[in-house]
Symmetry: C2
Subunit: 598 residues, 2 copies
Amino acid sequence: MSQGDDGRRICPEPPRRRSGDCERLDGWGFADSGFRIHANGTVELSGDRYDLAGAELPDLLPWVSRTIGVPLDPHEVNPSQYPPAVPEPRENPAFLGELRKFLPDDALCDDPENRLRHGHGHTQEEIYAIKHGRLARIPDLVVYPNGVEQIEALVAAALRHGACLIPYGGGTNVTQALLCPADEERIIASVNMSRMNRVLWIDPENRMACIEAGAVGREIVEILEQHGFTMGHEPDSIEFSTLGGWIATHASGMKKNRYGNIEDLVLDVCAVTVDGLMTRSSVSPRESVGVDLRRWLYGSEGNLGIVTHATVKLFPLPEVQHYESVVFRSFEEGFAFLYELAQQGAPPASVRLVDNLQFQFSRALKPSSVGLKRLMGRFEKFYVTRVKGFDPDEMVACTLLFEGSRVEVAAQEAALFRIARKHGGLRAGAENGKRGYELTFAIAYIRDFMMDHYLLAESFETSVSWSQALALCENVKRRIREEHAARSLPGVPFISCRVTQLYDTGVCVYFYFAYYYEGIDRPSEVFTEMERAARDEVLSSGGSLSHHDGIGKLREEFLPEIMSAPMLEWSRRIKNAVDPQNVFGSANHGVGGVKPRR
Amino acid sequence: MSQGDDGRRICPEPPRRRSGDCERLDGWGFADSGFRIHANGTVELSGDRYDLAGAELPDLLPWVSRTIGVPLDPHEVNPSQYPPAVPEPRENPAFLGELRKFLPDDALCDDPENRLRHGHGHTQEEIYAIKHGRLARIPDLVVYPNGVEQIEALVAAALRHGACLIPYGGGTNVTQALLCPADEERIIASVNMSRMNRVLWIDPENRMACIEAGAVGREIVEILEQHGFTMGHEPDSIEFSTLGGWIATHASGMKKNRYGNIEDLVLDVCAVTVDGLMTRSSVSPRESVGVDLRRWLYGSEGNLGIVTHATVKLFPLPEVQHYESVVFRSFEEGFAFLYELAQQGAPPASVRLVDNLQFQFSRALKPSSVGLKRLMGRFEKFYVTRVKGFDPDEMVACTLLFEGSRVEVAAQEAALFRIARKHGGLRAGAENGKRGYELTFAIAYIRDFMMDHYLLAESFETSVSWSQALALCENVKRRIREEHAARSLPGVPFISCRVTQLYDTGVCVYFYFAYYYEGIDRPSEVFTEMERAARDEVLSSGGSLSHHDGIGKLREEFLPEIMSAPMLEWSRRIKNAVDPQNVFGSANHGVGGVKPRR
């Protein structure tokens, strides 16, 4: 990917992995962070990585209990049985023998817990399975290639010796993309990309960087910042997910209004397929050179080849970064505000509208404040509810992040608050905005914690046109309640949504769903049935199968409902044409999967 | 592509074809428009479609003569021999018989001149061939389907009876995409999409429109404007090119800074492949549903299937539309201005920088002005050259088009002129800006006119990073002069460039090349050799093979220089997988073509 004038380029040092940055094997996130419960029933997030960490959260359990209509007893725990028994690794001595020719010993690992970790992502079903069940099939081997040549040799070896390869980035997917096909007879090697984690070069003049596929979001951010740049891509998983994963899942970032989604940021992609290294002689700002094969890797989810590195756009660090928040009387008023904001054409970097339940949830996550802060909190609440007459059980909040030059941000703010006022919005301040924005990272830990307390929870997302969005939200919530009632499950389900992305023609909607499962048989499967029903409702309400999570094995059954038969036939033909041996056998049935509906 | 709430949709009337809108068969454009020469040597553009039309252009021939170093004698003409002899149509009675079952008689045409027109685009080689040579192979039949069902039946018939199909939109391509493979033994049916030219619906709330592939740019503009919207896509060929053609060639519009290129505007594409109709259940603002097969049609150039209709984004008509222009002392100063303009992040809808030769060219195209206007023209010139010390043989011009709200445009203008001043730019007014912008449409007619006066001319484009752009322009100009000299051709070549698009990481550069060919053997082939040398120079200077024109048959020989062998192998595999019989046989060797270098 030579740009000719390498002289102007900067080649940064490789990222320094901090000793403390150890990730847990039995759930989400860093090993030093996680929610725990005190004898007095207050909850605390351990570690010191997040604003929430270390503070006592007295309101969380009581609020959850009220919300789900079931009193949560802190002492009533469903203890994790991790690690589960794992299947014995399959052998393929010829394959292994060839790998040893070009891979050092420490690049090959068959440790059971490590193999297990490479065999799942973070869906409710997968986490429940490793804590309370088992995985029928996991990788037999984990390999750690270091460079394009080793990946080319790896793919050649897999071809020669009939092995199956499944690339592994951050392992953060929520689509069961990493779940191994149970009927896979071949040896499965998980290709861990963590040794290809370098920013190879930064081109300040043309504002581009070439980055290896295994580079982790938080490290990309750190290195680019040292040189005054940002890629601007900030998915919720940025702490752990990788550039290669972003491309393979067609990822979206929270600040896409300013920086764009992954397809807007990536200028060139290199990948190793069964035919070898797909690469180009130069990186163009934009071109028309026939069907662009590089674009075929977006959303390929590891089924067509292994992304090795990519060239991305860079942006100078913003002059101003400013959080804000606005509260509205109702979700409908907040949504009307979003629509007008999008129509006038310059929304800030991030705009997210949470419904009333999530608004209450974020309040329940407030640490026990004291003194003036507590007083202010009460005063704020008094002002908003009593003076302004907002109903605590109806009102919603919108968190905002502005990035850009002082002039840009000032103009965006002026326009935005004018529109907000028009829709009855009240400014709720920068602190609430920042808190709401960053809560995303802490909330990711709650699901695993709640699971131990008989609550199964999961998020799912979709994209939908403006005119259909409100009805879709209502339909999905209604359907979940119906499905929950039809099974006479205890209490009431937790179902909440937020709008996380604005587009010219519609929005991305993110749902949280949880239910209390004590005494329920096969609780994870029951959850899956209800989530599937919700997905049905999403599709019949005009929503997409996924906005950014992808398909994996979780949603492939729905593909026939959104794509015509000829389009699915194309998937099969193309997968068979470019990977006839199904070396990249994760999906096991065509690009994105085309299994008949369960 | 149901959006669920069809109630809100508008279904416009079909476009009214004006009787006068007849297109010429032997060259570019409308039959009523074309340059002609008067006995006194002045030149005039006929018709009344363009600002330039009707006015006497006294300076054109003298300036061209000076520039190419050859005195052009108005009476020395190389008369067009159009129409050339055309090959007899190949027969396939079984295929024809089946077509007659579902197509009316007037949907089938074997008129020789019509078949000829469907067998070429507008490269210099093709126009020279129809005027002074012949085409070895042209379509044997032209079919005019009206609706998706007829296209499905057409493709099925072609499959059954071994016919070759080549879709035809506006016939404006400059890549020889429509040129029939000389060795094609099967019957070739050109699929003219002009009967599928409707805007099927407009969704004002979600700002989307569903438009048939055969809809012509100028008619799309007219219909959308009637409802207060624009698609914002304005390629130089907008008078004649079609939505289907824009998608198949991965087109770029002059106003992409505000509205984006075709890939940014199209939300959904439907196409008929050999497997049938590729369609989706809904149109999402953005999604992640595996590899997006719809994206594979961008740049497919008719080789994978026939685009039938697409859903595109709409924008409200801009509150303000304002032309401007700035002159700079040199191309380098103008380019430095462009770079800073792009870096500060909000360039106007269109920004184009022409070099000194094109600046002189546009002045040579000025009508003979009288009275005050002439005086002003002289005064302007005096002020710029004498007072400000601009060198008429060095200075360059930048044309600007601002679109948006009053506030947006005001902010863009303030920022832009501040940067322009910093780089020594002088405001040259709205009139010059508008003229420069619209000259594009008139200039398209000059090439055919000059051809009759022993000048062969062609444009070619590329995209390149900021840091390589200036060197690329210099290298290409030098190379053309060297190639011209090496062949001891008469006079000097006309070689000029302009920057037509700005991107974060680089620009699109557009070249004009012409040479005097009287007394030259095989002048068109000689031109081709020199253009090929220029393309070599573009690639070795870091430029792309094409920014928006595409590959066709003109550039396929260069693909092995820009794509690795595995990527080309993918092309072959995928083409063979999705069109094993090569029904869409225009390229005749894989997606985008992979023939070895000539």
